[in-house]
Amino acid sequence: MSVQEFFAMGGYALYVWPSYGLTLIILLANIVIPVLQRKQFFRQSLKQKR
């Protein structure tokens, strides 16, 4: 199987890859958002201390 064939997904590329792409984005967001929130929490708490 060539690289092009793999990405063509037998003609269903337009359905398969957006599924995987959106899943990746949502799963990443669920990790990134709480990590950012934690950083923000420490930043704000420090500000209130001063």
Binding site: M1, F6, M9, G10, G11, Y12, Y15, V16, P18, S19, Y20, L22, T23, I26, L27, A29, N30, I31, P34, V35, Q37, R38, F41, F42, S45, L46, K49
Partner: protein, 226 residues
């Protein structure tokens, strides 16, 4: 934590390699069926996380355990995400196979209701300032919504639907070939590990915010200064 991420990445890599590359195309659906490797595990997770959320909520209600309350509310956004993924990927799979993005049949509608239940839990929790009261209200809503879980599971057997019936959890032999089943189970495992990782991240933030006036959080803030 880092080793959890390593396990997650290994499982995902193996699952995707098996599912997208090694497994053959489906004899009826061609390569479009490869959406199964995220669609089905996401749908399983959407149910599993809901049950975890409801149980944690019940433990919080009965024994007033703070950590249980936090696990319950922290699970909601992750469960909602998986529900949305299941609906979205199902739509992208339905279009080429059924000829439509959406039908108002039992399986799809009950899964959509599940999304609204998750959003309801998130909204209710966010709307009440006292987080202990908010947790209790959210837990009650989550518990009421548990009725929906068996409905989703059995919807393809109870009602006529475009959605295909179960192929993995059938009582006799699963009607899915082992070359497709193994990557599917690997992805299901990977999503479970992912849930654990995402849950820990959310629980940490929620715990900090709730305990912001406690000594240990204040000490942590000061330590972080350096």
């Amino acid at each position: 934590m880092p080793w959890l991420v390593v396990i997650f990445l290994l499982l995902t890599a193996a699952g995707l390699y098996g599912g997208l590359y090694l497994a053959p195309a489906d004899y009826q659906q061609g390569d479009s069926y490869r959406i199964i490797y995220i669609h089905v595990p996401s749908a399983w997770m959407s149910l599993f996380i809901y049950v975890v959320m409801a149980i944690a909520g019940a433990i919080g209600l009965v024994w007033r355990i703070k950590l249980a309350e936090i696990v319950a509310v922290s699970s909601a956004p992750i469960g909602a995400s998986f529900t949305f993924i299941a609906l979205f990927t199902g739509s992208l799979w339905g279009k080429p196979m059924w000829g439509t993005w959406w039908v108002w049949d039992a399986r799809l509608t009950s899964e959509l209701i599940l999304l609204f239940l998750y959003l309801g839990v998130i909204g209710l929790y966010g709307a009440i300032d006292d987080k202990r009261v908010a947790s209790r209200a959210a837990a009650i809503l989550a518990l009421v919504g548990v009725v929906n879980i068996p409905i989703i599971h059995y919807s393809v057997e109870w009602w006529n639907t475009l959605h295909q019936g179960p192929t993995v959890t059938k009582m006799d032999k699963p009607s899915i070939h082992v070359s497709m089943l193994i990557p599917l189970l690997l992805m299901a495992l990977s999503f479970n590990v992912y849930y654990l990782i995402a849950l820990i991240q959310r629980v940490r933030v929620e715990l900090l915010q709730r305990e912001r006036n406690s000594q240990w959080v204040k000490a942590m803030v000061l330590e972080n200064k350096q």
